[in-house]
Symmetry: C2
Subunit: 336 residues, 2 copies
């Protein structure tokens, strides 16, 4: 049933368990610093399909299979799937999951989708509405560049604040019982728009939203600032991460010694030439379902605040001179 | 906590109440057969804004204001808002609601969004996670034509199976207590794809999904086929409605005497030249928040099964030769 701790936060008293997780990534991600944590690395950016969009759907479909296999369940054991992606009309999820036969809730949270889906899936379990939910998302460098920026063939230059869309899919199965990491708190974000208009600097647009949600989380839970061994934002990148830390500092929240960002962690920015770091729905999803949950399950980490961040703009809104609204959802995950 | 009745259906034992509702529509909808049920009719398709996208955002923003005003609450009384729309990256919702300061879950369910949001909002109330949720969506003929089909200036011809995107926004506030219509059952759809590839015939693509969910609803609840005074699908249009009735008949579900479709109801297809009828997220949303809930609250109807239907394709997926996956979510609404 949960206990409401404030305007944005719920404590999940049953502590739903993340029973299994899986991640499949592309070559660049596989060759990055977290490569060994992913379940599968796919060198072919088409994943054997005819288009980048179909490849992205396949990343999702295969990741769902792995989650079920690792959790030793079949699709019939899952009550709901929460999924979304960055593509127009979320076709990666819609097509990737269409054969699953699982009751489906489509989401759009941009790069916050992993945290949004995990929040809703965990609440469904906590509320007694589901025995098990799958929460899953994807992104693909090539489909995202084509849709949001330029065709790859155009060979445009990237500004230093740009981020690199992660190719891959990640997801989890959350359920009632088990030994895995548990979802203990969810703090749901409001849309925050500080007037940033540069679509090549999404970190700056998202940092205030991340700061807002993290601040609300500590205010509403009353947890000490050093409660979590890791506070990890979705994909602010190097620039956004630093900005977020500065904004948190202004709110009296000094957490820089145990703060990191999935977009910073997933690539070696220097060697891999990814400018400010990774982005895309898959960025936080594969770092969660690869690195973070592995570390938790081995008890190398015990308490993590996972903060998915999303920039809620579109190419059309940017062309029309609009600023970039952003959102961040926080999920407190603990070994208990 | 709800009682799970089967793979797709939950009975909401606390029967969350639809405490207030509002709808704002464009000129064509206002001049249609349901015109007198809408809260406001906006003759200017730009709604005083500079673009169709900004106009659509304004429809949403103003509808949210009306829902709150009619419900005599302020934004601070709402724990969650569930919203989405048809535009790429759901910018109507993201921009229309960015000043609301309400914890936000973005959805993409195409034209099923009203039913999807109402399902999730009601479950949040049933689960004890929220006192009140707002569930809301929008669409706009001009922004949808531009994005999904052709610029209006092109003046393309419409095939007879085409549907007309409803301009407007509709939404509800669902909460714990009150005298209004109540959400008693939710049956969540799976993605169904029967291989239809004609994006100008979405009714045929969605009818099998509607049939699948309605069949599951009756099978899992055990309710008699004449339990509802009205079973109303989202926006199958004339052709899709007839197909759905035929498919239901094949499943032994004869409900044609109390079956209708929001897309058929909202326009006078002959006089208004809307071909097969209305579509778009706002179609089922404004028929629900205009006509259906008014009829229920006056007890002119007592039991309605509201079945939002969505076609989960995109222009890109159609260009790549893909078929059209569809989904339908059913919500049983009753006066008790």
């Amino acid at each position: 049933m949960g206990t409401r701790l404030g305007k944005q936060t719920i404590r999940l008293d049953s502590k739903p368990v993340i029973q299994s997780w899986a991640s499949i990534v592309g070559a660049k991600e596989g060759h990055g610093p977290l490569g060994r944590f992913f379940d599968e690395i796919v060198e072919d950016e088409y994943f054997g399909e005819e288009s980048f969009e179909k490849a992205e759907s396949k990343f999702l479909r295969e990741t769902l299979s792995k989650i079920l296999m690792k959790g030793k369940v079949s699709t019939g054991d899952i009550q709901y799937i929460f999924a979304g992606d960055l593509l127009n009309q979320c076709i990666a999820a819609n097509f990737g999951l269409r054969e699953s036969e699982i009751p489906f809730f489509g989401l759009y949270g941009a790069c916050s989708t992993m945290a949004e889906s995990l929040t809703l899936g965990s609440l469904m379990v906590e509320g007694g509405f589901a025995e098990r939910c799958v929460c899953i998302t994807s992104s693909h460098f090539c489909s995202a560049e084509k849709q949001f920026r330029f065709p790859l063939e155009f060979g445009n230059q990237r500004p230093p604040t740009a981020q690199w869309t992660v190719t891959g899919a990640g997801g989890v199965m959350v359920g009632k019982a088990g030994d895995g990491p548990r979802v203990v708190h969810v703090t749901t974000g409001k849309i925050v728009d500080m007037g940033i208009t540069d679509a090549n600097d999404m970190g700056s647009a998202m940092a205030p939203a991340a700061c807002d949600t993290i601040t609300a989380h500590f205010r509403e839970t009353g947890l000490p600032l050093n409660y979590y061994e890791l506070i990890v934002t979705g994909d602010l990148g190097i620039h956004g991460k630093n900005l977020c830390l500065r904004l948190l500092e202004e709110n009296g929240i000094t957490v820089k010694d145990f703060f990191d960002d999935c977009g910073v962690m997933i690539y070696d920015q220097q060697k891999q030439k990814t400018d400010c770091g990774g982005s895309g729905c898959a960025c936080s999803a594969v770092v969660l379902a690869g690195y973070i949950l592995e570390k938790l399950s081995r008890r190398e980490l015990n308490r993590v605040l996972f903060v998915g961040t999303g920039a809620l703009h579109s190419p059309i809104s940017v062309q029309q001179g609009e600023s970039i609204p952003a959102i961040a959802h926080a999920v407190g995950i603990e070994m208990v």
